[in-house]
């Protein structure tokens, strides 16, 4: 009897919102690996029962569902993607280099996002000044790390680039809204160069959310946080 080989159709779903920089990481990773997937857009002011079922603890995007298996938390999802689809690896083989990539991805989320997103974008006056000072410190470390490299991952985009990638598009928008320059070409030449490389890289450049919509959204978020806007 002939053996009939069946290939199980892969079912890959990504829950995202149009604007979430965290969900964007997942889009980039899957597309960089040439993996096809379905996208489910969530309205985060009106979350679907399915999202709440898949991510009951955090109730957030992104969520990846792969053949019924659910994974939440963008950095966790990225590692899952890298381990499941091995083409175009996001992490290097060497354990020390891997650790380094993870360190900088974590630094981005724990520090950079807090000082820039939390401190500069959403605050004013003295609090914003403190946020700005903190972000200058954080960016200095990133500048040192990227110096001499095309990407944080070396010659190709890696985990840290994807984790920090929001800086290449969202930061310009934040800078416009608050009227402050953070990644100044003179202060941070290597980081400014990386921004250019990343923002124009294949796949990345095709997937940025609409800039004007983002400006509107984050300006509103700033207003709401400063207590001047009408609460939702």
């Amino acid at each position: 009897m002939d053996e009939m080989k069946y290939s199980m159709a892969e079912e890959i779903k990504v829950f995202r919102s149009w604007s979430s920089p965290f969900a964007l990481r997942i889009i980039w990773a899957l597309k960089l690996k040439g993996v096809e997937f379905d996208t489910i857009y969530e309205d985060l002011t009106n979350k679907s029962p399915l999202l709440l079922q898949y991510n009951p603890i955090h109730k957030k995007v992104p969520v990846l569902v792969h053949n019924g298996k659910v994974i939440c938390e963008s950095l966790v999802i990225l590692e899952y993607i890298d381990e499941t689809w091995k083409q175009n690896p996001l992490l290097p083989e060497d354990p020390h280099q891997k650790a380094n990539a993870r360190f900088w991805a974590k630094f981005g989320d724990d520090k950079v996002m807090q000082s820039i997103g939390g401190g500069v974008l959403l605050k004013e006056g003295k609090e914003q000044e403190e946020g700005f000072a903190a972000s200058m410190e954080d960016l200095k470390y990133l500048e040192e790390e990227i110096r001499g490299k095309k990407f944080f991952g070396g010659e190709t985009i890696g985990l840290a680039d994807i984790a920090l990638g929001w800086l290449a598009h969202y930061l310009d928008i934040f800078e416009e809204i608050v009227g402050l320059k953070l990644i100044d070409q003179e202060k941070f030449p290597s980081l400014a160069a990386w921004k250019q490389e990343f923002t124009n890289a294949p796949i990345i450049r095709e997937n940025w959310p609409d800039r004007d919509k983002l400006v509107t959204k984050f300006a509103a978020m700033r207003e709401a946080n400063l207590g001047k806007g009408t609460p939702k």
């Binding site: 994974i71 938390e73 966790v76 590692e79 020390h96 650790a99 360190f103 974590k106 630094f107 470390y141």
Partner: protein
Amino acid sequence: MGEVQALQNTMGEVKVIGSSKSLFCTRVEWALKLKGVEYEYLEEDLLNKSTLLLQHNPVHKKVPVLVHNNKPVAESLVILEYIDETWKHNSLLPEDPHERAMARFWAKFADEKCLMGAFMAFWKEGEEKEKAIESALESFTFLEKQIQGKKFFSGDDNIGYFDLVMGWIPLWLNVMEEVGGMKLDDPQKFPSLHEWAQNFNEIPLIKDCLPPRDALVNYFNFTVNYNRSMAEAKQ
């Protein structure tokens, strides 16, 4: 070449820059001991940080730092994964990518919600303390569900990555509860978690790395006063 010899050859020079009272550092020691890796422990005075620490972790200036053949690795969860990938026997993380993702998800949740939650519940006062306790209890409920029906979080008879990540609960949480005047690890509310804590703390190599309880009590007494005075200064 014998297994032990092969292991010793791959070990290289391993140092841990740490503080004996830090639960983050103890995690790293447990992982190294589980793998039979010999290491030199360099005790830091966190009020007077060494040049070595500042050189090896210039970004955060924190412990633990693992130094393997002169190359540093910082951040305890990053270090645990490094250890697991460098010394491949006695795996800490499971093989299957989805199970690995689950372990990582829970580790992040536990550190961000349970540990930080417990810490807030420990040092805050008044209404803020009540809120912090409530929030921490909610987070612990998720942990209770995770451990139900299992001896260890790893799912088998040997402890794994997430057990190590949760390893602060038997001792550190207990001391925080005493010094901070609050209760989170309630055997009535969380019977499975409580039983896990007893089983975990019985393991010889776990016990071996624990700091003396009175040293921890002193440390947390200092910490609670420090945090409260910092908070008052900000007002």
